[in-house]
Symmetry: C2
Subunit: 130 residues, 2 copies
């Protein structure tokens, strides 16, 4: 495992992986990224994808979202929450400023450093189909 004492060298692979994650809003899994990157780098291995996704999380270029017990990745660096559709399983970004009342006060004693909020329901697209 890499830690902060190591230097980081660039690699074509990591740059491509970041590019791929940035290119989509679907909050892809490692496996999706792997297949996507493979189209242009047929020899890349899944291990490399995992290693680089982890590094990119560590360097805060991307973040992780847990859904379905799987890790999904997100290159959107603005503060936001997620809406998870129970019909299509899609993960949608909800900008923080579009959520009314996102200020919380917890019971005394708990020092809150961050809040993770996920909304579950049916997305506009799936509602239209129902």
């Amino acid at each position: 495992m890499l830690n902060d004492l190591h230097q980081r060298k660039r690699s074509r692979q990591r740059e491509k992986i970041l590019e791929v994650v940035k290119s989509t809003k679907i909050h892809p899994t490692a496996d999706w990224v792997f297949h996507e990157v493979r189209k242009e780098m047929p020899n890349i291995s899944l291990a490399t994808v995992y290693r680089n996704l982890n590094q990119l999380v560590e360097s805060k270029d991307i973040s992780e979202v847990l859904s379905d017990g799987q890790l999904h990745f997100d290159a959107n660096k603005d503060d936001h929450f997620h809406f998870i559709c129970r019909s299509c399983n899609g993960i949608f970004d909800i900008e923080e400023k579009r959520v009314e009342s996102p200020d919380f006060k917890l019971p005394r004693g708990y020092k809150v450093e961050s809040v993770k909020m996920d909304f579950y329901g049916v997305c506009p697209n799936c509602q239209a189909k129902e």
Copy 2:
């Protein structure tokens, strides 16, 4: 996999498992429950623990909490959120009514059915130690 068409028969194992989950506030993993139940039922298998925890989730006697990429189980049936301490990794229940402003409005079109909110930070106990 069991579905709703099946009858459910009682089993000593399932009852013990529920009792164990109810006995603690630590939001245990399947493995913790397994070892705990094993103290009184030395022959129980981990598979049985998993199967029954899943059934208990299905019957809404308990719920799942995802943390550290592992499933934790929670017998607290009141609406509540979780506070996850980055120091001791403990999961603490925060009653919904103790959270100010837990009413959200999302952008038009998203039909919200539930909200999952996790707070991250340092719990009172760990702050005292720092």
